[in-house]
């Protein structure tokens, strides 16, 4: 298949997935056991006026398909509904909380991928050594820890016991800074623990997969050919092993995007990081359904989109699927 056909095909699949997500998102919130008004009323904070607005907004007296039509129309207009708790449009709330999340997850993702690949390569290269065994065990332990618990341990150790880093948040509330540098230093200080936690959560699996994939590649016949050709040490790794070993990594990184979102919810909750994850937790606690629905949709579409990009990247990296 030619490249254009492939992109079209993948794009079609992506659009299909997004549509199904829309349907799930719509119906999940509407055909749950009990009638939708009940579900919405279960929110203790809801006022009569809000209830009125909700009923109107969802058009609950009309048929499901009409409701779905309204829903789609509103989505196209960028209207994700109105948050009960914040009393503002959902999209506005999401956009406000997006930058801190991007900052945290972005940094942690990049760090964990780079470090994961590096460590995985080192462990595979020195397989069987003490370093490999120690690294492997540590990766397995990290992989087995609940993400939020890693965060709790970090807070207890570095913020409560040693008091090196602040306990929570993104900045000390109520303080003003003389310069932008002071502000930045404060941000970095607050960011340090959550970022380290997040990186630790993600890194275990990357190390394991990279190591295994490299070991698998190193047992292939073409590696023997390369060795026989006199390709040595670093070149053997860089030119022959890595390009092949990276392929499963790309797949994993794409598959892991959903996991990263899950990690963000946990890390942000533990550290009270004012991002989307924390927002989702508050929405859950406050049973703020429009907000919950909005965040879920937003996050899912982002992940699906990122997967689409990863598919394209994979195709670029593996010549076998090009023709």
């Amino acid at each position: 298949m030619k490249m254009r056909g492939f992109i079209l095909n993948k794009l079609g699949q992506t659009v299909l997935i997004i549509f199904v997500v829309l349907v799930i998102n719509f119906f999940l919130f509407r055909i749950m056991p009990g009638n939708p008004v009940r579900i919405l009323i279960r929110n203790p904070k809801i006022s009569a006026e809000a209830l009125q607005r909700v009923t109107e907004q969802f058009g609950l007296d009309q048929s499901k398909f009409v409701q779905f039509g309204y829903y789609l129309r509103d989505l196209c207009l960028g209207d994700l509904g109105h948050s009960f708790v914040y009393r503002r449009p959902v999209l506005d709330v999401i956009m406000e909380k997006l930058p801190p999340t991007l900052l945290l997850t972005g940094t942690a993702t990049v760090l964990s991928i780079i470090l994961g690949i590096l460590l995985g390569v080192i462990f595979a290269w020195k397989r069987g050594s003490k370093l490999d065994v120690a690294g492997l065990s540590l990766s397995l332990v990290l992989y087995s820890m609940p993400s939020f618990w890693v965060g709790i341990l970090m807070v207890m150790l570095f913020a409560v016991y040693w008091k090196i880093f602040p306990l929570f948040g993104m900045s000390v509330p109520g303080t003003s800074f003389a310069s932008i540098w002071g502000r930045l230093a404060d941000l970095l200080k607050h960011m340090f623990l959550p970022t380290v936690t997040f990186t630790l959560i993600l890194i275990g699996e990357y190390v394991l997969i990279m190591r295994n994939s490299l070991l698998e590649v190193m047992s292939e016949d073409y590696m023997l050919t390369a060795k026989a050709k006199g390709v040595s040490g670093r070149n053997l790794l860089r030119r022959h092993a890595l390009p092949n070993a990276m392929l499963p990594m790309v797949t994993l990184i794409a598959m892991n995007l959903g996991f990263i979102v899950g990690g963000a919810i946990q890390v942000e909750t533990v550290f009270s990081w004012p991002g989307l994850g924390r927002l989702m937790y508050t929405a859950l606690m406050g049973r703020d359904y429009p907000l919950l629905q909005g965040i879920f949709l937003f996050v899912t579409v982002c992940v699906v989109g990122a997967n689409f990009c990863a598919d394209l990247l994979y195709r670029y990296l593996d010549p076998r699927v090009k023709t």
Partner: protein, 296 residues
Amino acid sequence: MLQIVNRKDRFILLKKNLASFWGIYRRNTMGIAGLVILVCFALMALIGPYFVTYTSAAEGIEKVLQPPSAEHWLGTDDLGRDVFAGVVIGSRISLVVGLAATVISMVIGAVIGIVSGYYGKTLDALLMRLTDIFLVIPWLPLMLVMAALLGPSLGNIILVIGITGWAGTARIIRSQTLSIKERPYVERARAIGSGDLHIMLHHILPNVFPLIFANTILVAAVAILSETTLSFLGMGDPTSISWGMMLHFAFEMGAVAFGAWWWLIPPGICVVLVVLGFTFIGYALDEVLNPKLRRR
């Protein structure tokens, strides 16, 4: 495997298979370690709850949030309950939820994988798109949304974890089925007149079974982690104590700021150990069942 000559021979065969499996497995240190851990926790979940009491202290404030002592090995929580007792009782819920969810995932995953791989064509395309969707959607938000909508109960938690966790398995089983389907012995089976159901039950299933088994172990690890996370985030059943639920209460009651490490660490360590146990066994099985890895 209906055709075995008689019961005695079936027993001989079972013994032979188990013996050859065990012969390889027992040389795997990781696998043995995992097995030991899991057996310990299984015993704890089975008989432990009959030996401990997990109730609020009657005497009042001085029994609350006590660090470990001879009386309370792991200290007490904000209601003066014994944390050790909580850990023991929590093991039962955590393991039951994890395992039940795993069974749901594996049944869905295996059936979809085999049917999709075996029949191919349109059915395969449809099922695989469905699988793609479940693979791509971030599972924690989905679980949270579903749990929030369904309401907090043990059954709902099991259901939610079960129906969000099958996609990876379905993918793996499908690709294995695709490869087995092309093997000449499946063609031979067709050539002697076997029907689809016979082929799936007698030729595909026995050959994907090791993979299903190894995958079950890994999915179980994920399911237990999911239960912990969901409970921690407040989506669990507050009346049934699991490790995640304990951590939820501890976190909500400010155990972190108070420095009540004895309340936060033990449940977490239990989760890590159980998940590690499953992961170890999963890795060991992979090595035992996949001869290509064994060479290393």
